[in-house]
Subunit: 97 residues, 2 copies
């Protein structure tokens, strides 16, 4: 394996794990206010496109990497709605006292 | 151009613009607390690796896409430090009053 192949695998690995720290931070802090919903939607959409591309060409690295990123983007989207909603619910309880 | 090529170009375009909404949101709100520094560092590192890969194989789509993402990740890193520091400065002023 020459250095170019190593760079390719390293790049693919780094791209795959990009969102792990962000998912962990959001899971720990339950705070999503600064995160862009549109970024998450773009990530989700792009992984679906790359998955179709990988399946069509039978490129397992592309399928595995984007399958994993897709999973992470779904998690981030879920957290974005779950933890944003939590704030709204609190406001309602206060009004009814 | 068949649908697979179109999917490849679409995927590359979506991957390139992923961080634009996040950069815009941070620039507008000046709030970076929820963003993971480690995510930004991984993005920055992965784009450097992909740039080396693209240059070595003379792959212009890889060079252009990762050059642009690298620029966006540098912007996010700058904002992360610039807007985090702002909070610390305010705290110091309060102590000295």
């Amino acid at each position: 394996m020459n250095w170019i192949e190593i760079a390719g695998h390293t790049g693919a690995l780094l791209s795959s794990i990009t969102f792990i720290p962000q998912v962990y931070k959001v899971w720990k802090t339950k705070s999503v206010g600064d995160l862009s919903l549109y970024m998450m939607l773009i990530v989700f959409t792009s992984t679906l496109v790359w998955l179709a591309y990988g399946v069509a060409l039978n490129l397992w690295p592309v399928i595995l990497a984007n399958g994993f990123i897709c999973f992470l983007s779904i998690l981030l989207l879920y957290f974005k709605f779950a933890f944003s909603r939590k704030v709204i619910v609190v406001a309602k309880v206060k009004e009814s006292e």
